[in-house]
């Protein structure tokens, strides 16, 4: 008789995953949205305001992700944002956007992981 490995419960597992995905996505939308908003607010607070254009150029754009992906884009779009962030001949760089968004992105990832763990699943340490 050949060796045989029989696994059962796949259908139940598939049904559980199918049930979890929309719920997890809904939670992730809330978590990512909260951190993206915090990043936007901090960016606006941190940018100097002379003409107001730098702060006015900060825009939060929710997007429809593929599948259950949750995507929010934060953009600093004023004409001189890159001069402020990366510097000019006469002004030093003021790295602002990248540190703030990086911190909030990491925090959002950890919060989503916490949520998934609360649902009883195991999540390995994420790569940065």
């Amino acid at each position: 008789m050949p060796n045989q490995l029989k696994l059962t419960g796949f259908e139940e597992l598939k049904r559980e995953f199918a049930r979890l995905a929309p719920v997890a996505q809904s939670a992730a939308v809330s978590i990512v949205g909260r951190h993206a908003t915090a990043a936007r607010d901090e960016l606006v607070r941190t940018y100097p305001s002379i003409t107001g254009a730098l702060r006015a150029g900060v825009v939060l754009i929710p997007r429809v992700g593929r599948g259950i992906a949750v995507v929010v884009t934060l953009r600093s779009g004023s004409d001189h944002a890159h001069f402020y962030e990366f510097g000019t001949v006469h002004a030093r760089p003021h790295a602002t956007f990248i540190p703030i968004t990086g911190r909030e992105r990491r925090a959002a990832t950890l919060d989503v992981i916490d949520y998934i763990r609360e649902q009883g699943l195991t999540v390995d340490r994420p790569h940065d």
């Binding site: 990366f86 001949v89 760089p93 790295a95 940065d128």
Partner: protein, 140 residues
Amino acid sequence: MIDPNEVDRAVIGALAADATLAGLLPGGVFWDLAPVGSTAFVIVSLSTSRGYDELAGGITSRTFVYLVKAVAKGTSSAPTAAADARIQAILDRGTLDLAAAGCSLMIARWIDRVRYTENVTASEIWQHRGGRYEVTVTPV
């Protein structure tokens, strides 16, 4: 203990020691701002940094992300393009002398690109070209 200031110096030192880069941008390599009068130079600036808690709450490695850009006066982008390529050759998967920094290099790598033109006046134009580089170190 990791001395971040010495990590900064190691990055600047690696760039300043390169004769090819010095030939392309003879003004030199500077932190944040170049001296008045310089017309072709390299700027190094800290973009962001973070530590990693790996063992018993102790920070075992740190990542520093540097903005490194070639800056040159003029409408031609050729000098900054050549310098950008040379900077990448030095820093991307390159080596750094971190003996004074109390750490060893885990990886130095290119992350993303920065390029823009600055019009100070209608007749004074500057080219900025470079990238952001991640330098991850661990204590020795």
